[in-house]
């Protein structure tokens, strides 16, 4: 008995640590919660559908003068049929809310070792500014294995920076600063697309996140920084 209990505790602890592990990357946390919710609603849906189908087949009208035979519920049955479903639904609601809240908290507390990039959106481009002042349009190059946080605003209408592969979006709008972050694990390219109707060419407002190995990123980053500095000097010279 004791052994079983211990095993159960260990399993629970393992699940909890897996959960914490998953939430380190919001995208993985999203996938996990999504599957949980899909199972939850599928059970509810199939149960309701089967009961309905069974009633429909079982209680067909067999002669034209037949009428339904349901009796009026007693007060106790009426209350029971109200309170019990209410608690079942509420239990499920709070279970889902707790899980959703857990993932939300993880998502809203981005890791400290992040790279922080400014984003200004406009009709119809994504303009990024790296911490060292390097600018990029529509192509966001980031290192693998480091959380990336975007601080976002817009210079015209409302846009929404959506990266389907990282399961994340947030609106960028004039007069407000919002943020989003994601956790690219390995090199690759990911579509960025606008998810808030922003104007006539809304569906063409597209960019990409290019994830490269950390060393490659560092080299590129330093080179761009140098270019920026040289460019600045030249401009100064020209001005003088």
């Amino acid at each position: 008995m004791r052994k079983h209990l211990l095993a159960a505790c260990a399993a629970a602890a393992a699940t909890a640590s897996r959960a914490a592990e998953a939430i380190r990357d919001p995208a993985a946390g999203w996938d996990r919660l999504w599957h949980e919710v899909i199972i939850d609603i599928s059970i509810l849906g199939v149960a309701f559908a089967l009961i309905t189908a069974w009633f429909v087949l079982r209680y067909r009208r067999r002669n034209p003068n037949e009428v339904g035979r349901a009796e009026k519920l007693t007060a106790a049955a009426a209350v029971g049929w109200t309170v019990i479903p209410m608690f079942v639904f509420m239990a499920d609601d709070f279970f889902l809310a707790a899980n959703g809240w857990q993932l939300w908290n993880a998502y809203r507390q981005p890791p400290a070792e992040r790279i922080e990039i400014k984003l200004e959106s406009g009709m119809y481009s994504w303009d990024y500014t790296y911490p060292n002042g390097v600018k990029a349009q529509n192509v966001l190059k980031v290192p693998a294995g480091k959380p990336v946080l975007l601080r976002m605003t817009s210079r015209d209408t409302i846009h929404s920076h959506f990266i389907p592969d990282f399961r994340v979006k947030e609106d960028s709008m004039p007069g407000r600063v919002t943020f989003m972050w994601f956790y690219p694990q390995k090199p690759g390219e990911h579509i960025v697309t606008c998810a808030e109707y922003c104007g006539i060419m809304h569906s063409y407002m597209v960019g990409k996140v290019v994830v490269v190995p950390e060393a490659e990123f560092a080299a590129w980053y330093a080179q761009e920084e140098k270019k920026l500095a040289d460019g600045g000097r030249q401009t100064k010279k020209a001005g003088a």
Binding site: W30, D40, L44, T52, Y59, L96, T157, I158, K169, T193
Partner: protein, 524 residues
Amino acid sequence: MNTWKEWIFTTDHKRVGVLYLIGSLAAFGVAGIMALLMRWELTSIGPTLTENPSTYNVWLYAHGAVMILGFQIPALTGFFANYCIPLMIGAKDVAFPRLNAFSVWLFYVGIVLAVLTFFIPDPPDIMWTAYPPYSTITSGNTAFYTFTVLILGFASILGGVNFLTTVAYMRAPGMSWNKLNIFVWCTVAAFVLQLIFVPVLGTAVTLISFDKYLGTSFFDPARGGDVLIYQNLFWFYSHPAVYVIFLPFIGVVYEIVATFARNRVFNYKMVVYGGIFGIVGLSGVVWVHHLYVTGMADWIRIGQMVTTLLISVPVGFTVIGLVGTLYKGAISFETPMLYALGVIFLFLIGGLTGIPLAITSLTLHLSDTYYVVGHFHYVMAVAGTFAIFGGVYYWFPKITGRMYSETMGKLGFWITFAGTNVVFWIMMDIGVKGMPRRYFDYAHFPQFENAHQWMTGGAALIGVGFALAVINWIVGAARGAKAADNPWGSQSLEWTTQTPPPPGNWKDVPTIREEWDPYAYAQR
């Protein structure tokens, strides 16, 4: 000539109702054609039907705005409420018949304004949500949108005042509150919501026109405004508007199910006091789930995640009541019942797929994708339209005095039902995979082209099915067989008068016996 005048100057609630029906079906036709044009456009990557994204955006605007404001709300709270409520409560007419006639003609002005969208040089392209700053800087005509909403909203407020008074003061002797049809309760609740929330929408859409044309800056951050205030005001109305549609349509379905199962509504008081009242109570505190990814404060995003999930309790009551009404029933499957069962199925899928959208963290990915579009079409757009079509079939013999063709009715139902599931199931699927909504072109998502083609095929089926239903009604109204007073064997009061009901509805105002109940079948 005389009959034309009779219709134009009519104050009879039944004729006003039929005018609402004709207007809203015309709006449905226009908005439906917009949907088909959009589906055609999306059949292939790149421009297909039009070169100009603006044209597509106008279709999209017109489809959403006209379907909601010109079709569903007027059909449900205009047609059904007008036609059925006085008959169901045993009244001779509504409380303010002239006001009623005024509101239907206001509604027609709104419809004409909405249709003029296609004839003015600068049609609105701001979606039915009209978010600033785009709606205040677009070259499209935002004022058109503002006036359409204001006029239709005003018509709706007049209807609300009228029907709340009617139900409160004009019930037949002996018609106590607990003997009211579920549909009457649902409509009362919907009008309470309209009276509370329409003024907020009116304010919001007026302020965007002020910003655009009169130089104010309510929503312009450069001059001290805030873009999010609009979204809050808009959804503070427009989420309850979902229940303004949901409540009457589920009420129609209750009437159909109770009649064709010839059965008592399961746990009436739970449905009314738990389900309908509960929805009214919660509807005003869940709007932030439309703003989950707009950078609202965390506490309100989390708080309204919980309230949104809790809506499942009253909505669950209404579904349990509906399914429970089938239990021990004597069910027959004429066309209206097929539509009603279709609504239960569609609403089940639509309701449950709404649960992920209540969860803040899941909307980070799902928000503004085709998943949302698929979900709200299942839960409200198509489920509501099925209920409207089922309801028109159900009361068709009473309204016209004639029968429709049962074969054609069933055929139309199955074609539409099949098309619906093809379109909106696929839509939710590619939404989860990342397809954003409101896209004229999807060049960077080539993997979805095949799915889009299937959806266009499904949309064509939906169009054919609904067209069959409308043709069926027109033919039936002109040449159908004469209908009996009570062809379905219903207990409800509206079937006890002659068919079609005369002006004034009753020879003698009915007196309600103690043991009578609109759903008391077992006692007979």
